[in-house]
């Protein structure tokens, strides 16, 4: 027993009717790709927006402060009407000190964890430990800032009496802790992609697991490991809240890690928090500092991409 409508119109008829209607009218099929392309364009526009914003406001800044002063002067002292000095070097040195300490903490621990997870740990413990370690990377940076100021700094000060309350050491260490999972996770991925047949070859010759890790796995995964370190450096350079909370606000050009510092990021925060009028030189200075910061991280990201593309191992 067929249904009434189907007696006169087969399903194919219904479909072809519908099809004609679809072709004649407003066509989703043609409009959708355009809409999607526009959304994809947003990400490009964001980059363009960032670059243009930084360039224009930085140019305004350089009409008031000479670029030579910005790059070479050894003092960053923007809040004085009469004796203002805009030398980026103290801020850069603050950033580099913190980043250096972070890398010293994160690289050995991160790579050692990666080796342990990839070469020694059982599948089961790896599956438990890795996600827990990655939780460290998901903790908001303001929480790390709190941790640096209220926990790490007091401990360091009890060991090193000369340490100031605000210093480079404590935020450096805490940023290092924050980027451990980044290095560990990405390096572990690189090591795990070394085929097991190669591991068997080394073990079959009587290698210990340590020799296998050191002489076969690490060199084979080197590009991935280096890329992970470079990305971690980039992350440390751009880190803001930890250094703002625990690093202080004293831009000084020195290699002393026990004294109060200011990083590029912390300076931007300091100005944003204060009542700095729109259009003042100080206002534009945050864009010049932001530009410098952006260039630093951009170079790091390009290096990371270059390394992982250029030296990718084909097994």
């Amino acid at each position: 027993m067929a249904d009434e409508p189907l007696k006169n119109h087969s399903i194919q008829d219904l479909i072809s009717q519908k099809f004609k209607k679809r072709q004649s009218g407003f066509s989703f099929e043609r409009i959708v790709p355009i809409l999607l392309f526009l959304t994809a364009l947003i990400s490009v526009l964001t980059t363009i927006g960032i670059v243009l914003t930084l360039i224009f406001e930085t140019i305004t800044f350089f009409t008031r402060v000479s670029i030579v002063e910005f790059l070479t002067a050894k003092r960053w002292f923007p809040f004085s009407e009469t004796h203002g000095s805009y030398g980026i070097l103290p801020l850069v040195s603050g950033t580099l000190k913190v980043t250096g300490i972070a890398i010293l903490v994160a690289v050995p621990i991160g790579i050692a964890s990666a080796v342990y997870l990839s070469e020694y740990a059982s599948e089961k413990s790896r599956r438990i430990i890795k996600p827990i370690l990655e939780v460290l990377a998901g903790i908001p940076t303001i929480v790390y800032g709190y941790f640096a100021l209220t926990f790490v700094t007091p401990i360091l000060r009890s060991v090193m009496p000369g340490l100031e309350i605000f210093n480079a050491l404590s935020p450096g260490i805490v940023i290092g802790i924050m980027i451990i999972p980044m290095i560990a996770s990405l390096s572990e991925d690189a090591m795990s992609s070394v085929p097991n047949s190669i591991r068997e070859g080394a073990l079959g010759l009587g290698s210990t697991k340590f020799e296998l890790a050191l002489k076969i796995v690490l060199p084979s995964a080197l590009s991935g490991i280096i890329a992970s370190i470079v990305l971690a450096v980039s992350r440390a350079i751009g880190e803001t809240m930890i250094v703002t909370v625990a690093g202080g606000s004293t831009p000084t050009l020195s290699w002393d890690v026990t004294r109060s510092i200011q990083t590029m990021t912390a300076y931007i925060v300091q100005v944003s928090q204060g009542d700095v009028g729109y259009g003042t030189t100080v206002y534009y200075s945050i864009y010049a500092v932001g530009m410098t910061l952006f260039l630093f991280t951009l170079i790091m990201n390009f290096i990371a991409q270059f390394v992982s593309r250029r030296f990718r191992e084909e097994y």
Binding site: V44, Y146, Q305
Partner: protein, 292 residues
């Protein structure tokens, strides 16, 4: 003719084996270090913040007096922020992912967009703050509003959602698409009714990850000029507001012990919010895992 003295090899064995044991221990220690720090961090926060962590803390406005202060405005502000970031970033992110995976031809423009996205992911969050300050706060005159902050944060987390959605869409089997095309379905019908439903768990997981990032960020919001201290709630997206991390930042920067404890209690609220989000992500992943 033997080139290798096997007795020497045997003598060499013992130090090698001890080396292995030693380094195994060292590597294990390094791995445990991360876990240990995580444990200490959580313990510190809970032990410091617990005395203030009560119903009153959730219901109260920030105050000069630590014993009266609460996170009410900041918590509601964070929820406002999520309400803007979630739809905006999801629409833009998934749209971009569909375009790149389903429509875009493999040409220079696509490669450029792709490289651009991975570079965007590496831009420090504070630089996004400068972008938001210039474009949303000043040029569009949105001020330090929910909308300005929401749009800035959406752009910040966009790469996370795009990459996650791309992976999810890519992992939908070709056979499913072919089955749909085989029935005469159009491309958009196939994407809407076959590809997207199959990719939803991956997309939502990525979306939640991005949302967690957005509600934990502080730096760009400081640049946008969000107040550290606010005693009223926003009524529309054009109103000024503040969020949990800003409130925590405010309390942390004060020298008095009591405010530090308040900061810890605020952190507990923030972490619980993040935990909730991530639990949802795990639930989604488990519910939909391996259906094909």
């Amino acid at each position: 003719m033997k080139l290798i003295d096997h007795s020497k090899v045997l003598n060499h064995m013992k130090p090698r084996l001890s080396f292995n044991v030693f380094f195994r221990f060292l590597f294990l220690l390094a791995t445990l270090f991360g876990l240990l720090v995580l444990g200490i961090l959580l313990y510190r926060i809970i032990s410091e913040g617990f005395p203030y962590f009560d119903l009153h803390f959730f219901q109260s406005l920030p105050s000069r007096h630590p014993e009266q202060a609460g996170v009410y405005t900041a918590l509601i502000g964070s929820i406002w922020l999520m309400a803007v970031v979630a739809p905006v970033s999801l629409i833009l992110g998934v749209g971009t992912a569909i375009f790149l995976e389903e429509y875009a031809k493999k040409n220079a423009i696509t490669t450029f967009i792709q490289i651009n996205i991975s570079n965007l992911a590496g831009v420090p969050s504070i630089v996004f703050g400068l972008l938001g300050l210039t474009v949303f706060v000043r040029a569009l005159a949105l001020g330090s509003s929910v909308l300005a902050a929401g749009l800035t944060m959406s752009l910040l987390v966009l790469p996370v959602i795009i990459v996650a959605s791309q992976e999810a869409i890519r992992s939908v089997p070709k056979e499913l698409r072919q089955a749909s095309y085989g029935l005469g379905a159009t491309k958009w019908q196939t994407i809407l009714r076959v590809v997207l439903p199959a990719a939803i768990p991956g997309i939502l997981t990525g979306g939640i990850l991005a949302l967690s990032r957005a509600i934990g960020e502080t730096a760009p919001l400081v640049v946008l000029g969000l107040p550290l201290f606010l005693a009223f709630l926003p009524r529309t997206v054009f109103d000024i507001f503040t969020v949990l991390p800003m409130q925590i930042f405010n309390w942390t920067s004060r020298p008095q012990e009591e405010f530090r404890a308040l900061a810890a209690a605020g952190i507990m609220v923030l972490l619980i919010l993040l935990l909730l989000l991530n639990t949802i992500a795990v639930l989604i992943r488990n519910k939909y895992q391996r259906r094909y």
